[in-house]
């Protein structure tokens, strides 16, 4: 029984990275209509950023959790202004290809600078060690990741539902044309929203840094799983992205525990099932037009 609980916690912890990054991806798609293939690379940059901050400035995870998303937000703004904005009016395929190309460039740049063997990373003392939850022993950091990502998702949900920004993002996602006709300058929100989505991916990367080998390629497989996550959750749905992220983490963990040969394909089998049975995803709406 305790093994099952351990698998569940491990799955949810792994799912946290997917949930956070998918949240950013869903928000970007909702407001910009951009399928951001570079999201995996942004996740990787978040982890690399944390490692570099530790190595060059001696800044621990606590600092990285604050500084890296801010830096990634800025980077996202630059990417949007320089590259993405020119293709927004065209078929989404153009931006998909653009972000794919951007991924290749970013990965290669990191490889050139840091090699492929990965960068070292150390957890701050307070997060090391284990906690005993009534007989089940879990690494303290896994618990931290879970709690932190749930907290962040709740925070984002609060902003989405209680603030004017959130209201505008929801409206712009559902019917952007109407929002403009009602007097909302949707265009002005495009850049900060993209930056925010990128910051979330970077944040997921920081959280992953103590857990995963920090290599230039770490985002590649991650990006592909992210797409399975948003398809399962529903491409326009923010709630769907988060729930599907945790779900995929659980599927991965239990798959590895009980059917290791199939573990890798299970997620895609699930995705295929969803496409067949409920093409809009678990939480997706039918195509909404303004």
């Amino acid at each position: 029984m305790s093994a099952v609980l351990q698998y569940a916690v491990q799955g949810l912890a792994a799912g946290s990275f997917y949930a956070l990054a998918a949240l950013g991806l869903a928000i970007i798609f909702g407001v910009l209509g951009v399928v951001n293939f570079a999201h995996g690379a942004f996740y990787m940059l978040g982890a690399v950023g944390a490692a570099v901050l530790l190595d060059t400035l001696g800044l621990s995870l606590w600092w990285a959790l604050l500084a890296v998303p801010v830096l990634m937000f800025g980077f996202g703004v630059v990417v949007e202004r320089l590259l993405v904005q020119w293709l927004l009016r065209l078929d989404p395929l153009y931006n998909f290809l653009l972000t794919f190309g951007l991924t290749l460039v970013l990965v290669e740049l990191v490889k050139q600078k840091y090699g492929v063997s990965g960068l070292p990373y150390r957890l701050p003392g307070a997060l090391q060690g284990r906690v005993d939850l009534g007989g089940v022993v879990l690494p303290r950091y896994q618990l931290f990741v879970l709690l932190a990502s749930v907290a962040i998702c709740v925070l984002v949900w609060l902003v989405m539902t209680r603030s004017r920004v959130g209201m505008i993002v929801r409206a712009a996602t559902e019917k952007p044309e109407l929002a403009r006709a009602l007097g909302i300058n949707v265009g002005r929100w495009v850049t900060p929203v993209f930056g925010f989505g990128v910051a979330l991916a970077g944040l997921a990367g920081v959280l992953a840094a103590p857990f995963r080998a920090i290599t230039a390629d770490m985002g590649n497989n991650f990006a592909i799983i992210l797409f399975a996550v948003v398809v399962i959750g529903g491409l326009g749905s923010i709630v769907g992205a988060v729930i599907a992220g945790f779900l995929v983490g659980l599927v991965e963990a239990f798959g590895q525990a009980y059917a290791p040969t199939f573990a890798q394909i299970l997620i895609f089998v699930l995705m295929a099932l969803i496409i067949l049975v409920r093409p809009a995803g678990l939480f997706g709406r039918k195509e909404a037009t303004a």
Binding site: M167, T173, K175, L182
Partner: protein, 230 residues
């Protein structure tokens, strides 16, 4: 307040509007009638700024807005009440009301809105699309009133609604007109249009074919109904 001169619009190679000229004055209710496909909705989309393949001039409140983006026209005082109501499912009734910014000091307060539309007050926390058709229409109109729009562009507001609801809408239009706003009313329901409008335009195949004041409109109602194929 609204002056449209020689408006032409295209969808790709196909021309939808041919030299359309209309006027709406302050405190005036003007209706636009025509068959399906005549170009009524195209005209409204050109006015609000969502259709860009245009030639001609649109002047609003003494400013040329022909090239102005939609959100700026809305902020200048154009209020669009869409033909399919345009209510957000991912926003509550109250959020739908609060979404657009106030554009004039004639904006209705939320208290006044809830007083005039009690059903919206009761269902204020429900998602917008859980309201009935008629209630959603009320919401769409209330939303425009809440902004204080100086010119209402109302596209088929009475469509599919019960007569008592339609009558209520007529009341609101008269109230709005009395406060000095202008209304451009797209309506297939010419009987209803005749109860509120001062002037009427008849649009056929992208051209204004007739301009009538209301008394003449009422006299020739039968003939017009036949022309519209109703």
């Amino acid at each position: 307040m609204l002056e449209v001169t020689g408006l032409e619009a295209w969808y790709g190679q196909a021309q939808a509007l041919h030299g359309v000229s209309v006027r709406v004055g302050e405190g005036e209710v003007v209706s636009l009638a025509g068959r399906n496909g005549a170009g009524k909705t195209t005209l409204v989309r050109c006015l609000i700024g969502l259709h860009r393949q245009v030639r001609g001039t649109v002047r609003f409140l003494d400013r040329d807005v022909t090239r102005t983006p939609a959100h700026q026209r809305a902020r200048a005082g154009m209020g669009w009440v869409q033909d399919d109501r345009g209510i957000y499912a991912s926003l509550t009734v109250e959020e739908n009301l609060l979404l657009p910014p106030r554009v004039s000091d004639r904006a209705w307060t939320m208290e006044r809105v809830y007083e005039a539309f009690p059903v919206l007050a009761i269902r204020r926390r429900a998602p917008g699309t859980t309201l009935s058709g008629g209630e959603q229409q009320m919401l769409a109109i209330a939303r425009a009133l809440r902004t204080g729009a100086r010119l209402l562009l109302m596209d088929e507001p009475s469509e599919g609604l019960a007569p008592v609801v339609v009558a209520r809408i007529g009341e609101i239009i008269r109230e709005v007109k009395a406060a000095g706003a202008g209304v451009l009313l797209i309506e297939q329901n010419v009987k209803f249009a005749a109860t509120v409008a001062d002037r009427h335009y008849l649009l056929s195949q992208g051209r204004i074919v007739e301009t009538l004041d209301n008394s003449e409109f009422r006299r020739r109602e039968g003939e017009l109904l036949k022309h519209l194929g109703i």
